[in-house]
């Protein structure tokens, strides 16, 4: 009860602070003083504190199962374990928006204390733009999705959290993803401020690069966690389904990655200024669009919490205001200053980074069209379609080979004008890659030409980057690690998709099933009771063609609140392959529907993405260390 009040009024106080901050900031802007008024930093800190207090009080309401709070009532239950009571705080629409606010205010506060060496007017403008976003979100939370609504009479029990969201990976997936999404808001505000102040320079590039890296790392890890969760929880045995909700998180990642490369050019050469600004604006706009599409209920998924049209319209209007504002500022204030730095030879680091950007933009447009086209068609013609994995695979996969080759060559080039060096070793690597791929693939796939080209390109990148890593010939370790990680990622995905095998069947307890020398024996079932679910555990003994035995025990859980049946896959992970078994019950029948999959190199997909994020961290800390 009390926590509720505290939470609500802290939110309103936070909004007041926003408005007051803007006033103080505008007054300070025209002041001749060299430093930002210290009052501003204090105010920003207070605002952050109030938002955090508000968030903590919502967590308290969840821990105490205070069902007089509507959000808690809708999303919690007394029998839920404590851990999921807490993670339930952001497992719903209202709470997750509050988390957005926490991150928004946290980032602007960090920005203010970390940017002391930057020009004063630029810092104040960044603060103003960021406060504009923050005010927008405050209004959104207070007007359409107040997490502290009262319920009277107080219900005795809550409705519970969707059981498939009760999972450790999913407990930390939203906060991390938000750090990435919302982190891009600082890049957005800062780049608008920089444009307005004509400060899109090398120095600015150096300073904003850190923020780009921070959000990139969080976004990468956030997406990976979501993908790991989908892999073991949704029971389809894949890790990426080209589901619109997944695409929506991939789009800002693509632009952010493009931005990360562009910033290098800006930092070293002071070129590509407009491109950097456009990418910064696009990244945040795509993050907002993602929130809009997912939260408004246009895309149906686990992420859709409530279909309230008012929310969708609010975000849409807010989005338009931001886009028009940013485009307006861009066209009014932006001028390409020194033309000199935009001159570079066709064979140079700059042009190779531009090529990277083209690829990224192409991938982005494929994903964007695939995601948005069905929505448009539904609105225009009421025809319902879905765009599935074949669309994306067909359009993206063939372009990966040149992309990988560019990733191998690009970093070797020099700024402004360059020649290809070490031609001999590169040719040798290329020949080795092609031959290796051919011998590996000879017996396993029919589509040999296509895969040879693709995989040898990946191997080529793998070899060239490993050489740099092992012989320490790098001048940029973060880049080498990142490209190495990416080549590993593509290799694991490709081999995973070529070598995966699957058996699905319907089977009774005590039965055996044989297929291609693999024997599946369904030994028995066992029932178990937990505080918030009952489960049936299946005992399977699987003998593969080499006579090796694996025992897998998948579960079917029936959660009490809300009553939901979920199946928990059992996965045996080894360095080289995952064995994956999931079972389902078809109601009222003695048959169980099972799916057994052998998925090679699954672990390496996660490892390689972790290496990718690690490279971001290396780059981040190296810079700090040098300073």
């Amino acid at each position: 009860m009390l926590a509720n009040q505290i939470g609500y009024y802290s939110l309103i106080l936070g909004l007041m602070f926003s408005i007051y901050l803007c006033r103080v900031a505008i007054r300070d802007f025209n002041n001749d003083d060299k430093n930002v008024n210290s009052k501003i930093i204090t105010l920003s800190f207070l605002q952050l504190t109030f938002v955090i207090v508000s968030f903590l009080s919502l967590i308290m309401s969840f821990i105490n199962s205070d069902f007089s709070n509507e959000t808690v009532f809708n999303n919690s239950h007394t029998t839920k374990p404590l851990f999921y009571k807490i993670s339930g705080t952001w497992g719903n629409h209202e709470g997750s928006l509050l988390l957005w606010l926490v991150v928004l205010t946290l980032f602007i506060f960090l920005f203010l204390i970390k940017s002391k060496e930057e020009p004063k007017k630029y810092r104040i403008l960044t603060l103003l733009f960021q406060q504009l976003i923050i005010i927008g979100f405050f209004l959104f939370v207070l007007m359409t999705s107040n997490p502290f609504n009262y319920l009277f009479p107080i219900p005795p029990e809550g409705l519970g959290l969707n059981p498939i969201l009760q999972d450790p990976a999913l407990a930390i997936h939203p906060p991390l993803l938000y750090l990435g999404y919302v982190g891009s808001s600082i890049i957005f505000s800062a780049s608008l401020a920089a444009v307005a102040q004509n400060y899109v320079t090398k120095e600015w590039g150096q300073h904003i690069k850190k923020w780009v890296l921070v959000s990139w790392v969080f976004l990468t890890i956030g997406i990976m966690l979501g993908s790991i969760w989908a892999y073991y929880e949704l029971g389809w045995g894949g890790f990426w389904f080209w589901d619109p909700v997944e695409n929506v998180s991939l789009m800002p990642w693509l632009t952010l990655t493009a931005l990360l490369h562009c910033i290098l050019v800006l930092e070293k050469r002071g070129a590509l200024t407009s491109w950097v600004v456009i990418l910064s604006i696009t990244t945040f706009t795509l993050s907002m669009c993602g929130t809009f599409l997912v939260r408004s209920g246009i895309l149906n998924s686990v992420h859709t919490f409530a279909n309230d049209p008012a929310r969708g319209i609010f975000i849409l209007i807010f989005l338009f205001v931001l886009i028009f504002l940013s485009l307006g500022i861009f066209f009014l204030f932006h001028n390409e200053n020194d033309k000199d730095s935009n001159n570079f030879f066709w064979l140079s680091k700059e042009s190779s980074i531009l090529v990277n950007n083209w690829f990224m933009m192409y991938f982005l447009s494929v994903v964007l069209i695939g995601t948005v086209y069905p929505i448009f068609l539904d609105v225009i013609s009421a025809e319902k379609i879905s765009v599935g994995p074949p669309f994306y695979n067909k359009l993206i996969v063939p372009f990966l080979s040149p992309f990988l080759l560019f990733m191998a060559f690009g970093p070797k080039l020099k700024w402004i004008k360059s020649k290809i060096e070490n031609k001999r070793s590169l040719t040798i690597f290329l020949i080795i890659s092609v031959m290796l791929t051919y011998f590996v693939l000879e017996n396993i796939t029919t589509d040999i030409l296509f895969y040879t080209i693709l995989i040898s390109a990946a191997f080529f990148l793998f070899f060239t980057t490993s050489k740099e890593l092992f012989f320490k010939k790098f001048n940029n370790i973060a880049q080498a690690v990142a490209h190495f990680g990416f080549s590993l990622f593509i290799l694991s995905i490709l081999f995973n998709s070529i070598l995966s095998s699957e058996i699905t069947t319907n089977i009774k307890v005590g039965e055996r099933y044989n297929y291609n020398d693999v024997e599946i024996l369904f030994e028995k079932i066992e029932e178990k009771k937990e505080s918030n679910f009952n489960s049936i555990i299946g005992y399977f003994k699987i003998t593969n063609d080499k006579g090796k035995v694996v025992r897998l025990n998948p579960e079917i859980r029936t959660y009490n609140q809300p009553i939901t049946i979920t199946s928990e896959a059992d996965i045996k992970t080894t360095l080289l392959e995952d064995k994956f078994l999931v079972m389902n019950i078809v109601k009222g029948n003695e048959y169980f529907n099972i799916r057994y999959q052998v998925k090679p190199f699954m672990l390496w997909i996660w490892i390689s993405v972790s290496i990718l994020s690690l490279s971001g961290l290396i780059s981040l800390f190296k810079k700090k260390h040098e300073k």
Partner: protein, 139 residues
């Protein structure tokens, strides 16, 4: 004559325009071939010509219609006006049950019979395909 720089710029521009056109063309072409249409049993009944392409049928799993043996599962999808028989061999999702919403993806044999290659159930116990909602008059 124009300078070398201008020529290079021009070449660059042509290259960009060319690649943009190419990628737009590719995307649209592939969109045409890889789109899966969503239909209700009633819409399938009223089809004049059977589509050879993969389609999705959405509706509710009819009560007491599921039968299962070691090879396949068969059931009936209904939108409470018309029905269609579905056979499927493969893994069904968690929320597949009688009286619940379902989407089956596969090929039509005739107007009453679908061979499914994939069964999707939405991860929400209250989900209903839009057509079914309309048919039931639920908002």
């Amino acid at each position: 004559m124009y300078g070398k720089k201008v020529k290079l710029r021009f070449l660059f521009l042509v290259l960009i325009i060319f690649s943009v056109i190419l990628s737009v063309f590719l995307i649209l072409q592939s969109l045409k071939n890889n789109v899966v249409y969503f239909q209700s049993p009633s819409e399938i009944k009223s089809l004049i010509e059977l589509d050879k392409k993969k389609i999705r049928v959405g509706g509710m799993v009819k009560k007491e219609s599921i039968s299962i043996n070691s090879e396949e599962i068969s059931f009936v999808i209904t939108d409470f006006k018309n029905e269609i028989n579905v056979t499927f061999s493969g893994a069904v999702p968690n929320l597949f049950a009688e009286g619940k919403g379902v989407v089956a993806e596969g090929f039509l044999k005739d107007r009453n019979y679908l061979t499914a290659t994939k069964i999707l159930a939405k991860h929400d116990e209250n989900y209903m395909p839009p057509e079914v909602k309309e048919a039931l008059g639920v908002k």
